[in-house]
Amino acid sequence: MSSSDTTRDPFLALIEAYALGALDADERASVEAHLAAGCVGCAQSLAQARSIVSQLAYLAPEAQPTEMLRGRLLKAVRDDAATGKAPAPAQKAIPFWMWAGAAAALLLALYNLYEYQSTRKAIGQAQAALDAQIQLQRQAAQELLAARREALILTDPGSVRIAMPAGKAGLPELQATWHAALGIVISGENLPVPGGQRTLQLWLIPKAAGANPIPSLNVRPESDGRFHLLVEQPPGQPGDTKLLAITEEPRGGSEQPTTAPIWVGAVEGK
């Protein structure tokens, strides 16, 4: 093919690429239309180009297909020859690899499900352990803060120290320390543990005449008789409070005292 040929028929310059299948859609469509119009020269060039292109297959190294493939094909063809019918598509054997692939996929799916559930369980356990750890850390942090607060209340020179003797014989005296900003700490040892679910409740008795006792926290002594109470935000100030009192109350405390005070201490501001 000379350049004058392609000048006379520009489609000739596209024939090799067309035979190769390398033309983009618009060029391919124009070549096909040209061939369909009956250009003999292009048709001949196309036949030659196809012959050349087909030999590019030799660039691929030969390879031996499996004997299984040969066996399947020959069986299909022999069956067909025996029946006189063309091999039905159904005769196309499902290759072993496909069955193996399906089985593998099923196993993989089951394994994945198992892994998923195991992973979820492990994640749940890890999450629970993490939550518990976080809770412990929070609790420890709170305890640390409370301990620091107590230390400050007990050691600060501005705190008011209040002795709370028992009104009944045989009961130990409690010690209260009140810091106007940090709260009240009350502690004692060898206290009798109230029966049932009853508890010991702290009251602030205002200086104002006729004012009712102001309820504060309640707590049960430890089983060994130790008593410890930290009130971070007392419902009053030392300067407004005449007395601190502790009564025995039902579980959860009361709005107003239901029993006579057991321990009472006078608040004497500095």
Partner: protein, 183 residues
């Protein structure tokens, strides 16, 4: 009459032995080509099975007067493999119209396969291709084995479209000249 042409004649008479001979003669190159395109043995075997079953069913579609058998078979194999490749990669459907049908006879040189045996011809094709510039060879191989178009090859190689077109056309013309000189 070439050996392949004789076998095709017998195949049209539904001669199973002829089919077996044809398969044994050409399955290696067909499988090698399909494997080169698909890069996966199991899928390649499936496509080769389809090709040979199609040959058995539609041997009448091959017209020996229009060209030798093997180029026709290889064109069929390449089209089927590229179809499979596109199915998998959802690449553009550029060659669908061509590959829906059996290919036209691959060449107008009935004496082609009589002059060189497969081994010599394969060696000659490889020799001629290796004489091309590496990028020119790459462009032709991308079109042939991966079914890429000019513009796709230009993108892949990072070269101007016009350059890629020239490489492919000139490369194929050199290949043609070399094979004609050998024949």
């Amino acid at each position: 009459m070439s050996p392949d042409a004789a076998l095709i004649e017998r195949l049209r008479q539904r001669d199973v032995c002829a089919f077996e001979e044809l398969y044994d003669r050409h399955s290696r190159i067909v499988y090698g080509l399909v494997l080169r395109i698909l890069q996966q043995a199991s899928t390649a075997e499936e496509v080769v099975q389809d090709i040979f079953l199609q040959l058995w069913r539609n041997a009448r579609h091959y017209d020996g007067a229009r060209g030798p058998f093997l180029p026709w078979l290889l064109t069929l194999a390449r089209n089927r493999a590229l179809d499979q490749l596109r199915l998998k990669s959802e690449r553009q459907r550029r060659r669908e119209a061509q590959s829906e049908q059996l290919p036209a006879a691959a060449g107008a040189r009935p004496d082609f396969e009589g002059n060189l045996d497969d081994q010599r011809r394969a060696a000659r094709v490889r020799e001629l291709m290796s004489a091309l510039k590496p990028q020119q060879k790459s462009a032709i191989e991308l079109a042939y084995f991966e079914g890429l178009s000019h513009s796709e090859i230009a993108t892949r190689l990072g070269e101007p479209l016009g350059t890629v077109k020239s490489w492919i056309r000139n490369g194929l013309l050199k290949l043609k000249e070399g094979l004609e000189a050998t024949a």
